[in-house]
Assembly symmetry: C3
Homo-oligomer: 268 residues x 3
């Protein structure tokens, strides 16, 4: 394995450059070029590692990868230039503008409004730069928020979700109600991002955000519930490495292992 | 409960809009308006959830809520536009300029100087925009820093605080001395923010910052020590949801539950 | 100890001002001056605590301290003004430009590309402001990346590192391979930053980043492996307090204590 994987450094660079170009057109080469003056090897690592090693892997398509990237960057904060680059790349590979916005609305219950609002500001600029215009949809759902939220919570998180709500009854029952009504009744019910993509976004964002292992556990389970395979969950975690580094991903892999063992499933 | 809580979506929006206007005047409506082009529902969620559900709750007054918000945003980082908005709102609802500055000085021992310095830069701009001028006080305290720090540590944290200092004697005694002298001798002794508000600020900031559960445990206990009720502690945690999301708050609730159980107190 | 440490507040300020001037020339006084309008005591705390208490300590020289600061700030994110200040200070005390760049490349495997890329942008501006020009080296290493990575992994992390890779075989073997090839084969092998300084940078960055305790454990062990003393490890952690606050450092001290106990070594 090692020999095959490490032979031909040239081919890693060439493969990375091809994927970089496929995902971001001429902007990709510009990033690498901009590093030549003081950190040329850093530009090479972007091409070889982020694109040659990670983006070129099977398991997730480029739209799923760019949505995961946007989620990880928005969750992490302080990455506006990269968010600009990757929202542009997401559109370039065929993610719809509304899906980008939806992924950013999706992170509100997980990271709060400020991260989402600032990322929407970046998205607005990218849309303007690309001349993208669209009519943003407005959700109308006359059903009771608590009832539709409970239904969605069970559908996505299964029994674990209900247990979290139940466990809050003694100390903060309204907080449990807000999780049901807002996270699941308002946000998860929105039809403009598929349940699978919502879970890709959730897992990537929680991994990059850090210090939320219990929620990562529930949502890796939820990812399996909505049809992602264990291998795709692992692939999503590996995809986050270039954006949040190995340590948080290694810890998330430990959480995934526990979930897989409990369910008796395997990543490969 | 669910029925009452979820009936009348219109009333949540209207209630939220009224609280938003009460806390931030015309700037609140401008934020919602600015989202109409690409994410109108995100603006609606700000109004309905952050203001209609959270800010309109009893348990903390608007000055306490805005101070907690400022602390959570400053601690979290990368939220300068929101910090600008909420420092302005804090002044709007009657927080004194010196209290805002004091809350930012207060987070130095918990998150370090960079977060505080950048937030002070935002505060300066807000003060200038509002034409606020004041004579910032300069602390003079001739007492020995270590002695006055130890006294304050015991007053705020009780036995737990002394145990932390004691536990450092074998490995980093000077670090324990710095906690006593700087955190408690220098910062906690400043009279321009009440002990109750200092603990609101501490709990909100630690929750938003993440990965500091042991300190959150000590400082939730300290919040009770200075006269906040268990319900007010829970309310402070719920207040952080719109700024840092549900996961970190849910984990902080778990910490609060342990503290309440140890003391035999209840949130409601 | 307490009496000696706290007597003469004037001397702490004077000592701090001298170290501040030694590390950053006239820019240091400008920071303190800029706070006089609304938060003069915050400026005093920078001088007294960050410089008078922390920077003036023995155990690490000023180049090691500034490199650790740059690493902690880059890892933490949202500290561009402070990063600008401390990259300038690092050069001022004799850190070579290539070492600064190298420290930023070093954090890629630990925190991802965005933090490093943005910090390189700050470095570029500082180099331009100071008129620093240099020919950045380009790494050429014809050896197999996996083999040279394994060799370096064992050299730095010892048995613990191999166990991490081995533990990934059942769930994400390629992730283990990337750790070996990229972190150790590509980054750790670069000769432009000494192994000791790499571990100072790693420990400071992981502490400031948060939620990576298992990796901090491995890399505190690695710091001892490359020749840092237990006291220097503790000193590096104390050095991070002004940048990331006491809580994360106190938790890192807990991790260091476990490592020291396992090895039967003492910090003093």
């Amino acid at each position: 394995m090692a020999a095959a994987a490490t032979s031909g450094a040239g081919s890693r660079y060439e493969r990375g450059l091809a994927v970089l170009h496929e995902t971001s057109g001429r902007r990709g080469a510009a990033v690498v070029e901009s590093l030549r003056d003081i950190a040329p090897d850093l530009g090479r690592f972007v091409v070889e590692f982020a694109y040659g090693d990670v983006y070129s892997r099977a398991g997730l398509d480029l739209r799923e990868r760019e949505l995961s990237t946007v989620a990880a960057l928005a969750a992490q904060g302080d990455a506006a230039p990269q968010l600009d680059f990757h929202i542009d790349a997401a559109l370039h590979v065929g993610v719809r503008p509304q899906e980008v916005v939806e992924a950013l609305i999706h992170i509100v219950p997980f990271m709060g409004f400020p991260r989402a609002l600032n990322a929407v500001g970046v998205a607005r600029k990218v849309f303007e730069d690309r001349g993208v215009t669209f009519e943003p949809p407005v959700m109308k759902d006359p059903r009771d928020r608590y009832l539709r939220g409970t239904q969605k919570l069970v559908e996505i998180d299964g029994q674990h979700g209900l247990e979290v709500i139940e466990s809050l009854k003694d100390i903060a029952p309204d907080l449990g109600r807000f999780v049901v009504e807002f996270t699941f009744g308002d946000v998860y019910h929105r039809p403009w991002l598929s349940p699978r993509r919502r879970q890709l976004v959730t897992v990537a964002a929680l991994t990059a955000f850090g210090d939320v292992a219990p929620q990562l556990r529930v949502h890796i389970g939820a990812a399996l519930n909505v049809g992602l395979s264990p291998a795709q969950v692992v692939e999503t975690l590996i995809h986050v490495v270039p954006y949040a580094g190995f340590p948080r991903v290694l810890n998330a892999i430990g959480v995934a292992r526990e979930v897989f063992e409990q369910r008796g499933v395997h990543a490969h």
